[in-house]
């Protein structure tokens, strides 16, 4: 089985969820080629070999330094054919998911996103997808010869299995139509841990009483190397930016540890966190529904507990 992996890059580095995609492809037991598009450090690409890639392709083209969905899909479809791939693996993200959809349509491939574990290939090719916003799973059989699968965070464990490989330049001739969308500018929080990729998330709700109190949450997040998140009301009220909204209609996270402070736990919020490995709930209301979905809980005042927790974690590490 030949597998092509789309490696997403940001600020010159390979994104963490793309390492998982390479590891996933390697664990599938195939011959893995990886392809990166745009600006990225050479050593980053070479190191894909450590996670299981036998071959690394790189498309260096100024026009592709930003993630133009159509153009990226064009490059991936071309590379798929060139390496005679059977499966394209990519990490689900704001870029990966829409790009994967277009590639599947171009190649007439079976498509599944939100895949949570390795496919079962004992008879056919069956993948397990997360559905109903994390409330259930569907096992679906992908029956076409070509397949495109998008994987969720934590679908594979990143392990070093090999040594760095050299990088091969790759060219795909694209048409003007592939560049019919223009990315005029972008704004991005820098230096922060990105919420969808974070191993630990510290999230605040209305119980934080106002944006001016976020310092205590951010201090704890900093100690833990965590990303900060929030509930829908908090982002609706403009206390925090929309990209921090965790829940049914916001970001769905799957960290090792999710710490919810002053969030009551509406079912729509739970839908965004139910793939977390461990959930800690801190709330002054002992009846908060979130406790039912938690692994550990503390009933108490957030403003009292947060600094103490921060100190206790510093002491324990």
């Amino acid at each position: 089985m030949n597998i092509l992996v789309f490696v997403e890059c940001a600020e010159g580095k390979v994104k963490k969820n793309s390492l998982e995609a390479v590891a996933f492809a390697n664990a599938m037991g195939g011959n893995v080629s990886a392809i990166a598009i745009g600006q990225v450090e050479q050593t980053e690409l070479e190191s894909m070999g450590k996670y299981g890639a036998k071959k690394v392709l790189h498309v260096a083209d100024e026009k592709l330094n930003q993630g133009v969905i159509q153009a990226y899909a064009g490059v991936l479809a071309k590379a798929f054919q060139d390496v005679q791939a059977d499966v394209l693996v990519l990490a689900d993200s704001s870029l990966g998911t829409p790009v994967g959809a277009r590639v599947a349509a171009k190649l007439d491939a079976s498509l599944a996103s939100n895949v949570v574990q390795l496919p079962d290939t004992s008879s056919g090719f069956i993948v397990k997808r997360s559905i109903y916003t994390g409330k259930a799973f569907a096992n679906v059989s992908l029956t076409k010869p070509k397949k495109v699968i998008g994987i969720r965070k934590n679908a594979a464990e990143v392990k070093e299995v090999g040594t760095p490989v050299s990088v091969t330049p790759f060219r795909a001739s694209l048409s003007d139509a592939d560049f019919s969308t223009t990315i005029v500018s972008s704004e991005k929080a820098t230096g922060e841990v990105l919420l969808p990729e974070a191993n630990i998330v510290v999230s605040g709700g209305r119980g934080m009483k106002g944006p001016e109190h976020w310092g205590a949450l951010e201090a704890l997040a900093k100690t833990l190397g965590a990303a900060t998140g929030c509930s829908k009301p908090v982002s609706d009220m403009g206390w925090r930016p929309h990209h921090e909204h965790v829940g049914q209609t916001g970001v769905k996270v799957a960290p090792q540890l999710y710490i919810a402070v002053g969030i009551s736990g509406a079912i729509q919020h739970l839908a965004g966190v139910n793939s977390s490995k461990c959930i800690v709930v801190i709330n002054k209301d002992p009846e908060a529904p979130f406790f039912k979905a938690a692994d550990y809980g503390i009933v108490g005042d957030a403003f009292d507990i947060l600094p103490k927790l921060n100190e206790a974690i510093k002491a324990a590490r």
């Binding site: 829409p98 959809a101 349509a105 109903y132 990209h243 540890l257 009292d304 206790a312 324990a316």
Partner: protein
């Protein structure tokens, strides 16, 4: 301007999910169905554009007769007419193929839908429709303005957003805060009853995706409470029991 808004008919966000028929069918008993929340944002933005620039809005759903109340609600919110493609919305590729087959002859300037449906969460329909129609597709779109045949969009990316310009026509997968959800008023509800709803048979297509079975996650164990004056114990549990620190 002609706008096509594609809506899904999905369980309300507070629904408990269960399956029947040996885990091969969704259990609809006691479940209330709604317009997909993301699709509802797309529809709300379409209605705003209609009010500010003038437009006709056609709403499209792939579903069986039971989705008609959901379609009528979209008409009550402000769509002018509706198309129901008479088939079970099995997967993204199937649904997208139906939409593309309808939209091909429709001459739409804008094809809007949610970034994903909240039942299967694929987030793929807009991309496949775009590819099939040879149009750009952008998702997830959180801002959409139209000025002189050109659209200015904001797309959410991890930790921020991108500002994009694109010529019409194109396909967009929408999300908040592109517009505020609209609640139908009495006049809208009355007029929705007589607005045209065309039923079309589905085109045959092999999407290459076959459901084997559904599965529910294992039940969550009970919560362990830690006294507020002993956060050190919490840290100990996280480190040595849960092993997440």
């Amino acid at each position: 301007m002609k706008i096509l808004v594609c809506i899904s008919h999905v369980p309300d966000t507070t629904s408990k999910i269960n399956f029947t028929d040996n885990n091969t069918k969704f259990d609809t008993s006691g479940v209330q169905f709604i317009i997909g929340p993301y699709d509802d944002y797309a529809l709300a933005r379409a209605v705003e554009l209609k009010e500010s620039l003038g437009a006709t809005i056609t709403v499209l759903n792939v579903g069986l007769t039971d989705t008609e109340p959901t379609i009528r609600k979209a008409l009550a919110i402000g769509a002018d007419d509706a198309i129901r493609i008479n088939a079970e919305p099995a997967d993204s590729f199937f649904v997208a193929s139906q939409i593309a087959a309808q939209a091909k002859e429709g001459g739409y300037d804008l094809i809007l839908m949610g970034r994903e449906s909240i039942d299967y969460n694929s987030g793929a329909v807009h991309g496949i429709v775009g590819e099939m129609l040879g149009m750009p597709s952008v998702s997830p779109v959180m801002k959409l303005d139209i000025e002189g045949g050109k659209a200015k969009l904001a797309r959410e990316i991890e930790g921020g957003k991108e500002y994009i310009e694109v010529n019409l026509p194109f396909v967009a997968g929408c999300q908040e805060p592109i517009a505020e959800w609209k609640i139908p008023n009495m006049r809208g509800i009355m007029s929705a009853r007589t607005k045209p709803l065309k039923v079309v048979e589905a085109v045959a297509i092999d999407s290459g995706v076959k459901l084997q079975k559904f599965e529910l996650p294992p039940p969550k164990g009970s919560v362990k409470m830690v006294p507020a004056d002993n956060v050190a114990e919490l840290v100990n549990l996280l480190k040595n029991e849960a092993k997440v620190l």
